[in-house]
């Protein structure tokens, strides 16, 4: 170790290239100090600067009349009427969770919650899209259990319900699990605040935890590099969460913002104080002086670099007018959180760090609870700044227009259509009962109650539809409205064709929201990819950006925020491109609980949309039969929009008793899940033009929704579908105790329920 340090100059150890160092020298007109270099290294890291992704992200549509805050702030914010707005954000905490699953996931939850309340919104819902390797692997089970416990332990204690999410298991994630965290908050529009350090002379007050050595270099060392052998050594870069501190921070910050005591608030996340202080100043076109001597520390002997780059959790920076400082300190005292003046806004456009800046009388403020306990030097200072850089330069890192190349093997991959082999193996008349039961028991499709019951999903008494529903639905108290939300990702489709796969992810999230009767408002995305220094990965990324953009434009909603996570790779192996789409929608007049994904005895079983023989990338072909090539299902955007609008209106008009979208596992699995939920069987015929029975059962075509319809409404539903240009077919009736598709499968409800419900608990008991 020591020898290495001699050989490698500091900037490389900090993850910077020689060219980036040269850019810093150019910017400053001199060699940077170690502290300056450390700050540039974290601020210019891929994780903080988006240096590889930014050139592409501008292609997203980001505007709509109801958007109050778009990408680039702590969270996206949309107006939902009645003087209320919704703030939403999604983020990844993949690398920390791979190293230390409990704390990695817990601090991911903590970070996203701070982004939401820093805007003035009360966080009211979390959702977690998770990706793991195969559960056959003991380490994967450890990661899965640890991540779920971390989300549960932190989310439940901090008091934000986890109302949905999804879990997918695929070998591609074995060494790179994905932990994405979505958070939604609600706020009166007049409490909306941005993270801006306006007003020279205003004070920067650090709220919350003391600053320790945890998470140093998290952004640059952990999040912006691939995993290699022996990466356990990166564990010290993972932070540790304290949900109790965060709960008090939420209450204190919302109280500050309610009372108009803060000009701006920003959380300390990646790159810690360096990022929060410089970013708030840069956004306001101001400067900032920071006195590290005033920063309360967890342990003695911390140096300036450690203080400025620590990613210790549960810390916020509030920008406060001097006249309001005493009131701010009183609120902090009441909630028993530490509050310390650590800096002030200047008009210099410089970011300057001092070790002992403030005069004892010049700057009021103290560490109220618990007291600082140290002899913070409050004497006047003509001590020179230990860092002094243009504030804009930290956030204005290099941009890389990295080469993007379609992989050489892409054509061959797409040509490997699983259809012919599977049609041979399962000709017309083959009994598919065993296939259906096995599919219901694959971990990705199986019931996730084992996960969701570890999450408090009911706090705040808003959860009208929670985990297991196509979309989570939260009522908005005091109004007739409700918010619907869903997160989805279709990585196997993206691997085959990233552009189409990205469209399909957006379509699925939007379709789920439509199934609750909502109209879509906006999308946030979390873009999880491999190593961007490989041209094939950048091609995937670029294609995904285009695919998502096209789908959003066609469906009429903007992208209001996102997160890019690169370097999800182990050695030469990149994960499948995994963009996650989080769509939120609004129900204007919530009449009752939206119909569940279940059948009702006596109802007609009606399918909306077109069943096509699209097996490429399906769970059945890829996971059960190992045939993972081919083309993904077509993503017809016009058809999708028509279907979503039809479905939402059928729900609003209460013409369907139950409905469920066709997704992983295809039509047969959607029908089976509805039968299990409704505790009733069905008798249907699955005959569709151009489809063998197995294809009709297990293909995963887009924009298909199964409905349970009272026979007296069936003609009307069919008429409305025809008028909307959406194919419609009455498949049969919900009845009896068996799932019967003529010429395809015949299993009992009990067997289907057993296969679906018991799979995950059984796998997690296996040791």
């Amino acid at each position: 170790m020591a020898e290495e340090r001699v050989e490698h100059p500091l900037h490389r150890r900090l993850g910077m290239t020689d060219a980036e160092l040269a850019a810093v020298v150019d910017e400053l007109g001199r060699e940077p100090t170690d502290l300056e270099l450390a700050m540039y290294s974290v601020m210019w890291s891929e994780h903080c600067s988006y240096k590889s992704s930014r050139p592409h992200l501008s292609r997203f549509p980001t505007e709509a009349p109801w958007v109050l805050v778009g990408p680039g702030e702590g969270a996206g914010v949309v107006d939902i009427g009645d003087g209320l707005a919704v703030a939403v954000r999604i983020e990844s905490h993949n690398h920390p969770s791979a190293v230390e699953p409990y704390q990695g996931a817990a601090t991911g939850v903590g970070g996203i919650i701070r982004d939401i309340f820093s805007m003035g919104a009360r966080p009211i819902a979390l959702m977690d899209p998770l990706r793991f390797g195969s559960l056959d692997d003991a380490r994967t089970r450890y990661l899965f259990e640890g991540v779920v416990s971390g989300i549960s332990g932190y989310g439940n204690s901090v008091g934000v319900p986890t109302v949905g999410g999804e879990v997918v298991f695929d070998d591609t994630y074995r060494d790179n699990p994905l932990v994405n965290v979505f958070c939604l908050g609600i706020l009166p529009i007049d409490r909306l605040v941005l993270a801006r350090a306006d007003g020279p002379g205003n004070l920067a007050v650090l709220l919350g935890s003391s600053t320790g050595r945890d998470g140093i270099g998290g952004a640059s060392v952990l999040a912006s590099a691939s995993f290699e052998e022996g990466d356990g050594a990166k564990r010290p870069s993972v932070q540790v969460g304290d949900p109790f501190e965060e709960k008090r921070l939420i209450e204190a910050c919302l109280e500050l913002l309610d009372a108009r005591l803060a000009v701006g608030v920003q959380d300390l996340g990646a790159a810690g104080l360096s990022c929060a202080a410089s970013e708030t100043a840069a956004k306001a076109g101001a400067g900032m002086d920071v006195d590290i001597a005033r920063v309360a520390r967890r342990e003695p002997g911390m140096n300036a670099v450690e203080v400025m780059t620590s990613e210790s959790q549960e810390r916020m920076l509030a920008i406060v007018e001097p006249a309001n400082l005493d009131a701010v300190l009183a609120v902090a005292r009441r909630w028993e959180i530490r509050a310390t003046v650590v800096g002030r806004v200047t008009d210099t456009a410089r970011f300057r760090i001092y070790d002992g800046l403030f005069d004892a009388t010049g700057v009021p403020g103290e560490n109220p609870v618990p007291p600082a306990g140290d002899d913070a030097p409050l004497v006047t200072s003509d001590a020179p700044a230990i860092a002094d850089v243009p504030v804009e330069s930290l956030g204005d890192g290099p941009l890389y227009h990295r080469p993007a190349t379609r992989p050489a093997g892409q054509d061959a991959l797409q040509a490997a259509d699983p259809g012919p082999q599977l049609r041979d193996k399962f000709p017309a008349g083959a009994d598919l009962s065993g296939e259906l039961l096995a599919l219901l028991a694959t971990p990705t499709i199986a019931d996730k109650t084992w996960v969701s019951r570890q999450y408090d999903h009911q706090l705040f008494l808003n959860t009208v539809a929670g985990p297991g529903a196509d979309a989570a639905v939260l009522r908005v108290k005091g109004t007739t409205k409700a918010i619907a939300m869903s997160t989805d990702g279709k990585a196997r489709f993206c691997r085959l064709d990233p552009r189409t796969g990205a469209r399909l992810a957006v379509l699925e999230a939007a379709r789920n929201v439509a199934c609750s009767g909502a109209r879509p408002l906006a999308l946030v995305n979390c873009l999880n990819f491999g190593n961007p220094e490989r041209a094939e990965v950048m091609w995937q990324f670029s294609e995904v950006v285009d695919g998502m953009s096209e789908a959003c434009r066609a469906l009429g909603f903007p992208v209001i925020g996102g997160n890019v996570s690169f370097y999800n790779a182990s050695g030469d192996d990149d994960i499948h491109p995994t963009p996650i789409a989080g769509v939120i929608g609004l129900i204007d007049d919530l009449a009752g609980r939206p119909p569940a994904a279940s059948l009702r005895a006596g109802d007609d079983v009606v399918v909306l949309g077109e069943i096509r023989p699209e097996l490429g990338g399906s769970e059945w072909a890829a996971v059960m039969h190992g045939l993972d090539g081919g083309r993904p299902p077509a993503a017809n955007l016009e058809r999708a929009r028509a279907t979503h609008e039809l479905v939402a209106s059928l729900v609003r008009e209460q013409m369907v008793a139950g409905l469920h979208d066709v997704s992983d596992g295809g039509l047969a699995v959607a029908l089976a899940e509805m039968a299990v939920a409704g505790e009733v069987g069905f008798k249907v015929e699955l005959i569709f033009e151009g489809c063998m029975p197995a294809e009709a059962c297990f293909a995963e075509p887009a924009s298909v929704v199964v409905c349970s319809v009272d026979p007296q409404y069936t003609a009307a539903v069919c008429g409305l579908a025809a008028a909307a240009g959406v194919p419609v077919r009455v498949l049969g009736v919900a009845t009896g105790g068996r799932l019967i598709a003529k010429g395809a499968f015949d299993v009992s409800v009990a067997d289907a329920a057993h296969a679906w419900r018991d799979a995950l608990p059984a796998l997690m008991r296996a040791e």
Partner: protein
């Protein structure tokens, strides 16, 4: 005049607004009681709601019991004031020795958020007076440490004095004798792990908790009348 219900707030409590909302919906008047204030402000009933008082990093409720407000809550309870501990509040009442026994980690060592069925075992309490013995209520639980334990003598006493208020129809957490809620000898202090406020509206999937909350308001109202 509507009954006044005080809802105790410790740092880390998180169900206070839910209880307040549910009480207000039923026509009660809920107000928050801050842990640092040594008073119940003369309310007619007190609810110690769910959450993670003081983070629960020690034994649950171990710090909360020393809060200034708890002295006032004990005084209110000991003079017959209706006092309900829900979930973490139940743990706090046990720590404060207003109720016997303790709550341990669930037998499955996992947090459980799910709707369970509860059987009403006695109706001579501030929480169940409007229910009928044998009623089965669907109400959510939401806890890691809801596994009720007590010594044999206490259990015998609880049974003999009909102080087991609610039992799980299917025991989710390993609780002794399927106990979901108990009361003191007078029936004015009740602790339970399930959250009645989470079953207070058909929109949320169940309104079976309303009978419990209405019982509480009835007890609060009669307390108000007595004290007037």
């Amino acid at each position: 005049m509507s009954a006044r219900v005080g809802v105790v707030v410790f740092p880390g409590t998180n169900c206070e607004l839910d209880v307040q909302f549910a009480v207000d919906q039923l026509g009660g008047r809920a107000e928050l009681l801050w842990h640092g204030d040594a008073t119940t402000k003369g309310v007619d009933a007190v609810v110690v709601p769910g959450g993670f008082a003081h983070g629960d990093y020690l034994r649950t409720g171990a710090i909360a019991r020393f809060s200034p407000v708890m002295g006032a809550v004990a005084a209110h309870a000991r003079t017959g004031g209706p006092t309900i501990g829900i979930c973490n509040g139940f743990q706090v009442l046990c720590e404060a020795q207003l109720l016997p026994g303790a709550l341990q980690k669930n037998s499955g060592s996992k947090f459980l958020c799910q709707t369970v069925e509860l059987r009403v075992e006695t109706v001579s309490t501030a929480l169940t007076s409007l229910a009928r013995v044998g009623d089965v209520l669907r109400i959510p639980i939401n806890h890691f440490e809801g596994n009720y334990v007590c010594d044999e003598r206490t259990l015998a006493e609880l049974r003999a004095e009909e102080r087991v208020v609610l039992r799980y129809v299917q025991n989710p957490n390993g609780s002794l004798d399927d106990i979901a809620g108990i009361c003191n000898a007078e029936g004015n202090i009740v602790g339970l792990m399930p959250h009645p406020e989470r079953a207070s509206d058909p929109l949320l999937g169940s309104s079976d908790g309303l009978v419990l909350l209405k019982s509480l308001l009835a007890a609060a109202t009669s307390r108000a009348t007595i004290l007037v």
